[in-house]
Symmetry: D2
Subunit: 418 residues, 4 copies
Amino acid sequence: MAINDAALIERFRKVRARSESLCAPLQIEDYCIQAMPDVSPPKWHLAHVTWFFETFILVPYVKRYRRLREEYAHLFNSYYETAGTFFPRPQRGMLSRPTVDEVYRYRSHVDDALLELLAHPPDEHAADIRERVRLGIEHEIQHQELLLMDTRYNFSINPLQPVYRNIEVPITAAPAQAMGWQEFAGGVVEIGHGGNAFAYDNERPRHRTLLQAFRLGTRLVTNAEYLAFIDDGGYGRVDLWLSDAWRTVDEQHWQAPLYWFKEGRDWKHFDLTGAHALRPDEPVSHLSYYEADAYARWAGKRLPTEAEWEHAASTHATNGNFLDNGLYVPQPAQQTGLTQMFGDLWEWTQSAYLPYPGFKPLPGTLGEYNGKFMSNQMVLRGGCCATAQDHMRASYRNFFRAADRWMFSGLRLAEDMP
Amino acid sequence: MAINDAALIERFRKVRARSESLCAPLQIEDYCIQAMPDVSPPKWHLAHVTWFFETFILVPYVKRYRRLREEYAHLFNSYYETAGTFFPRPQRGMLSRPTVDEVYRYRSHVDDALLELLAHPPDEHAADIRERVRLGIEHEIQHQELLLMDTRYNFSINPLQPVYRNIEVPITAAPAQAMGWQEFAGGVVEIGHGGNAFAYDNERPRHRTLLQAFRLGTRLVTNAEYLAFIDDGGYGRVDLWLSDAWRTVDEQHWQAPLYWFKEGRDWKHFDLTGAHALRPDEPVSHLSYYEADAYARWAGKRLPTEAEWEHAASTHATNGNFLDNGLYVPQPAQQTGLTQMFGDLWEWTQSAYLPYPGFKPLPGTLGEYNGKFMSNQMVLRGGCCATAQDHMRASYRNFFRAADRWMFSGLRLAEDMP
Amino acid sequence: MAINDAALIERFRKVRARSESLCAPLQIEDYCIQAMPDVSPPKWHLAHVTWFFETFILVPYVKRYRRLREEYAHLFNSYYETAGTFFPRPQRGMLSRPTVDEVYRYRSHVDDALLELLAHPPDEHAADIRERVRLGIEHEIQHQELLLMDTRYNFSINPLQPVYRNIEVPITAAPAQAMGWQEFAGGVVEIGHGGNAFAYDNERPRHRTLLQAFRLGTRLVTNAEYLAFIDDGGYGRVDLWLSDAWRTVDEQHWQAPLYWFKEGRDWKHFDLTGAHALRPDEPVSHLSYYEADAYARWAGKRLPTEAEWEHAASTHATNGNFLDNGLYVPQPAQQTGLTQMFGDLWEWTQSAYLPYPGFKPLPGTLGEYNGKFMSNQMVLRGGCCATAQDHMRASYRNFFRAADRWMFSGLRLAEDMP
Amino acid sequence: MAINDAALIERFRKVRARSESLCAPLQIEDYCIQAMPDVSPPKWHLAHVTWFFETFILVPYVKRYRRLREEYAHLFNSYYETAGTFFPRPQRGMLSRPTVDEVYRYRSHVDDALLELLAHPPDEHAADIRERVRLGIEHEIQHQELLLMDTRYNFSINPLQPVYRNIEVPITAAPAQAMGWQEFAGGVVEIGHGGNAFAYDNERPRHRTLLQAFRLGTRLVTNAEYLAFIDDGGYGRVDLWLSDAWRTVDEQHWQAPLYWFKEGRDWKHFDLTGAHALRPDEPVSHLSYYEADAYARWAGKRLPTEAEWEHAASTHATNGNFLDNGLYVPQPAQQTGLTQMFGDLWEWTQSAYLPYPGFKPLPGTLGEYNGKFMSNQMVLRGGCCATAQDHMRASYRNFFRAADRWMFSGLRLAEDMP
C-alpha cells in the first residue's frame, strides 16, 4: 500500500465520519423531510454519497460486489442520466423507507467494501480507483454543506423554530472592520486550475484572461449595510432590479433576505442556532444573485467577475471561517485589508457559469458532474462557514440560479478603476 | 357521574388506544410523510384529533387548562377557519417537529385533562361536554380510517413497497357469490337520521323523498368484472366517460384502479399487506367516481342514488367486514341476497353531496365540520374495511371529489325498473 | 313539402339571420378575440353553429355535399370527441384565419346546401333531418346567448371599455317592487319534459318527485340588496361561504360581482351598453353559485332546488325580458306576485346537474350534447335577457360550474316552510 | 435646419413607412392575434413603436402635445416600469380595441406632431431630441423584425397554414458551399462600440479582451447537416444536452427545429412563404440555444463566444441577406471563405448576456431599454433576413433565453486551436 493510499483512506474515514457526526443533533424525523424541491432529506444525502462510491467504484471495480438493495441504485441516483433512472427529486421527502437505521447500514455495507478494496486495489485500476475515491470524498464534503443548508431551510418553515444545535463556541461580538478598497492593476492574468492536484473539471484548464483595473471591497457587506438598503425602500425601487429579479421579488413577496423576519419592529434572524436578533456586523447572508446585484447597484458599485475574484484570491491562503470551526455562522470581519475571501459566505460574482476556453468534462457518466449545468446559473466563489477548509481552492467554482437563496451566499462589492 | 358517562369514558379510552395501536406497525419515519396533498402524515392525524378535544372541550370548558404548546393550536387545526389560522395542508409533511414522541406526550397531556374533566364535569356544561366528547370520538374514528388510507398511499409510491403489516388473520379464498338483483318498489320513503342517537348534522333531518322502482346489484362489483371492462378497452373509449372524467383519464394517465400495476402481463395489487397478484373475487376498490360511473355505463347500468341506497340499507343490520376485523382488505361476497351493504368498501352513489331539505349545521365553529363541503363532491355510503363498525349507520353520508381514489371506494350497480 | 317544414325553414332563416344581426355592432377585430379560455371569439361561434348543421345533417344526409374546407371539420368542432379531433379550446383566439369574411362565406355555403336539402328532403331521412335541424336551431340560439356573454367579457378587460351598442330602447327607471314570498304546499309533483314538443334530452323523462312545503321570493335579488351584503363585509366573512367558495374568493380576489368596479367611492357596472353607475333596482347579475349561496346564507334563506323552481314556474307563461327585447340588460321587477321567473337572469338552484331518473342521452355523437357534462356543475333555470323567448321552457336546464360568473346569472331566494 | 436633420427626418419617414408596408399582406384579423405570450399582435407593435416616440419625445419636449387617448400610455407601454403601468403582456391579444384603423390614426397623430417638432426643434433640446429620434428609429426597426417573427409564429399554429406572402423574388437554388474553417490567432483584441456613431448602451464601452486561438466555421450550419444530427438520434441522446436543455426537450416534446414538421416520411418547413419541402442547403433556423449547443457537441465542436465572433466580424462589411432583400428566408451560402457573418440568421454564441466592463445604461427610463435584461439570456450576433441592414453592426448584441426558438436563429461552429 502506497503512502498516499494511507492518507486517502484516512481522509475517507474522516469525511465519512463527519457526515454522521453532522447528523448527531438530528431527530429521526429531521432526517426525512424536504421542505422544498431544491432541498433533500438528510438521510437522502447520507445515502446518495454512499451510492456514489458504490456506483462509480464498487460496481465497476469489485466483481463480487452486491448492492445492499437493488432499488437503491434508482432511489439514490441524483441526476446521472447515463447511470440509469432516478426517483423524482421533488418526491425525495415522500419516502419513509429505507429508514434512517437502514441508511446507516447501507453506509457500513459500502464502507466495508470500499475499505477492503482500498486495502488491496487491483493494480490495473489502482490509479482510477484512487482518483474516484478522491472525487467521492469531495462529493461527500459538498453534500455535508448541502445537509446543513437543507436542514436550516427545513427547520425555517416550522413554526416551532427547531434549533440544529445550541452553539458551544463563542460567536464574535466584536464589530466588523470598516470597509476599505483594495486596488488591482488589471492586465493579462491566469485563472483556473493547473497542475495535478485535485480540482473539478470545471476549474480547468488554467488559462489567460484580461482584466481591467478594478477595486474590491475589503470585506463582505454586513447586515447593517444591507438594512440601510431595505430602509431606503430597496425592495420597492424598480430601477434597482433586473427585470427577472423584479418579477421574482413580486411573485415571491421578497422584502428581506431569506431568513430575516420581523417581530413587531425588530428584525430577527433564523439560523442553525435558532432565531435571534439580527446581528448588525454579521455579513449579510442568504441572498439571491438578484438581491446582491440590486444592492450593488444601489451602492453605486457592482459585483466582481469570477476572474477578478480569483485573481485577487490567488495570493491568499485558504484560511477563514469554515465548517471546521463548527460555528456554521458567518462572522464579522476582524482584520483590515482584503479579508473574508475564503469561508464565511459564498460570494456572488457577475459571471455566468460557462465553460472555460478548452474545457473538457470528465469522460463517461462522471462528465455529468458539472458540465451539464452550464446554463442559466451564476458563479459564486470562496466557500462558506459550512464548507470544509480542505475542500476549498481559489479556483473553485460554485454555481446557483439567480433566484436561489438557501445556500450560504453573501456579497462583496467591486468597482471599475478609472 | 351518570352511567352513560362511564360508557362514554370507556369508549373514549378505547378509541384513543386504538389510534395508537393502529400505529404500532409504523416506523418513526412512516409517521412523518405526506406523499400527496390530500393525505396527512400519521403523526399529524394523532395530533389533530387531540387538538380537536383540546380546542372544542378543554379550552372552552376548563378554565385552568393550558395548551402543551401554543403553536399546536395553529399546527393541528385542519380547516376550522373560525377557530384561528392553520398551517398549509400541503406542507404537513414538511414538519419534522414536534417529533413522534412529542405527539404522544401531547396525547397524554390532553387525555389526562379530558379524563379529569369527565370525572367532574361542571353541571351547567355537562350535556354540551358529553355531546362534544361524543363528536370527538367519532371524529377520531374517522381519522383512524384516514390514517390507514394515507399510509397505504404513502407506501404505494415507494419502490421498496413497504408492508403495513403481515396479515395474521385468514383472507377469504372462497369465490364471490354470483351477482343477483334485488328489486325495490319505489314510492315515498323516509331517509336521513331522526331521533336522538348520535349522527352528524349532514344526515339530518329525516325527511320524505320519492323513489322510482329500482333494482340493486346484490353485491359489490369484483376485480374480475372490472378487469373485463379494462380488457374491453374501457379506459380508451370516450363514449363511456363524463367529460371531466375523460380529461382526468388523459391528464393522469389512468389505465386501471389506483393500486393496480402490471408486472409483465400480470396485474398486481398493492394494499396494506404489500404487493400480490390481483385477487379476481375481491371487490374492486380505489376507484374514482369517474371510473365507477364509466364502468356502470359500460355495463348498461347506473350507480344508485343515495336515497335508493339508504332505503335498501335501512332494513339491514350494520354488519360487515369492518376495521374491527383487523383485515383492512375487502372480502369476496359470501352470502346470497343483498350483501356487503356495510363494510368492505364505500359505495359511490350518483348523488351530489348537498344539504337535505331543512338541513341545519351545528352552531358555531363546529358548523364547519360538514356543511361547508357541500359543493363539488359526491356521496358514498356504507363504510369500509377501515371503518369502525360502531361508527356506521344507514344514514351515514361520506363524500369525496369525483376524481379521488385513495379512499376504500368501490361500486354497486343499480338500474331502473320498467 | 309539409306545412311544418315551411315553418321550420322560416325559423331556420330567422335564427341564422339573427346571429348575423347580433354581430352588426362588432368591428372585425371584435370577432377574433378570446379574453379567457371559457369564452370563444364571435367568429368561432358563427362558424361552429354552421359546422353543427354541416356535420350532423349535410355530411350524413347529402351524398354530394363537400365541406367548404376540410380543415373546418377540426377547427369548428367544439367538444364532440366521437366526431373527430378538435382544435384546443383555449387557443380559439389565436386563429386569424379563416377571416370574418370567410366565415360568412362558410355560413352561406352551408345555408344554401341546407335549404336545398330542406326543399327536397329524402323521404327515408326526412324525420331525422327535421329533428336535427330543430336541434341545430336551438343550438344556434344557445350560441347567440354565448356570443353576447362572451363579447361582454371580452370588452370588460379592455381599459377602453368598448360599448357593444348604445341602447336605443328605454331601460326601466321605475324602482323594483318590494320582495314578497309565494308559498307552495309541497307533495308529489311532476317535473321534466313530457310529450313530443322539442326539448333537450337532459329535460327528460318527465317524472314524479316529492317537494317539502317551501316559499319562493317573488322576484330576483337586486343590486341594492346585494350591496348590503357587501357593505356588511360579506366577502370577508368565512362563515358565509362554502369551503371551495372561500378558496376561490381568496385566489381570485373577489370583492363584488364580476362586472362591478369602483371609481373612488362609487360602484360602477360594466355591461353591453358600457360603464355606468350601478343601478340599485336592477337584479344583481354575474354571480357565481358561490356568491349566490353566500348571499342566501347571509340573508337567512337558501337557493331553491330545481324541482321547486320548475314546479313554481310550470303555471307561468314563458314571458319576460328576453333577447327579443333587444335590451340585453335585466330590468327591475315591475309586477307584484311571483315574477321574473323567465328572462332577465338565469337563477342559480342548489341542485347539482345530474341525470333525471330514467335519463337517456341522444343516440350517437349527439349524445355528447348534454349528458357528458353531468358532473361538477350546478343547474340554473329560467333564461335571461340574452336568451330567445321561444328557446325557453319551464323544464329547461342550464348548467355551469360553481365558480363561473360570466353568464347572465342571478338569484332568487327560497326557504322552507315550517 | 441642419443637414443631418434632413437625413434623420428622411430616415424616420422611411422606417415608419416600412412598418406599414410590412403589414400590407395582413388581413385585419392577422393584426390582432397573439399565439403565445412571447409574441405580440402586429397592431400592438405598430402602436408601441409610436408610443415610444410619443412618450420619450413628444410628451417631454412638446408642451402642448396631447396624447390621442390617455389610455394608450398604459396599453402600449411594453415594460418601462418607470414610465408608468403597463397592460399585461400575455393579454395583448385579448384587446380588440383600438382597432387597426385607430392604430393607424394614432400613428398619423404622432407622426404629424413629431415631424412638426423636427422641423422646429427647440434649441436647448435639439441634441437630445435628435438622439431620441435616432433611438426611436432603431427601436422601430427592431419591432419590424419582431413583427415578422411574430406573424410567422402566429400563422404556424393555424391548421390553415396562412401564407404571409407569395415570394416574388427568386430564392437561391444553388447548393451551399462546403464548410471550411477560418483561423484566428488570439491575443488581446478590442470589442464593443467606440466613437460617436449610434450604438446601444449595451455595446459600450469598447474594451480590450483576450482571445485564445480559435477557428470559425466559414458558413452557417445547414438543414442537411442538422438533419444528420436528428437522424443520429440527437434529440434522444441525453449525453449531448445540457441539463436544462434535456428537461425542455422532454417537456416540450422537441424532435426538430421549431417550424419543421413531418408529412409521412418527409420533412416539411413552414416559413413566411407557407409550407414546403425542407431545403437541405438552407441554413438551419429557429433553433434554441439548447439545440445549437447540442448540435455543436454532437459535431465535436462548440459555439463561438461573442468576443470571438465580433473579432472575426469586425473586418467584414455588414453585407448579407437582410430585410432589405425582401426575402425573409435565409439563403444557402454562396461564397467561399468566411461568409454569412451578417444577415441570414442570428448566430447563437456561448456567451451569457452580461454587462461589458464599464457598462453604463442610458440615464432615466431609457436605461430600461437593455440593461435590465442582463440575466438568464444568451447573446446572438450578426442579424438576420428580417433585420434591416442599416440597423446592423459588428458590435450589435442581441439576446434571447436559451429555450427561445421563434426568432430567426441559427448556428455557426467554432473550435479551439491547439
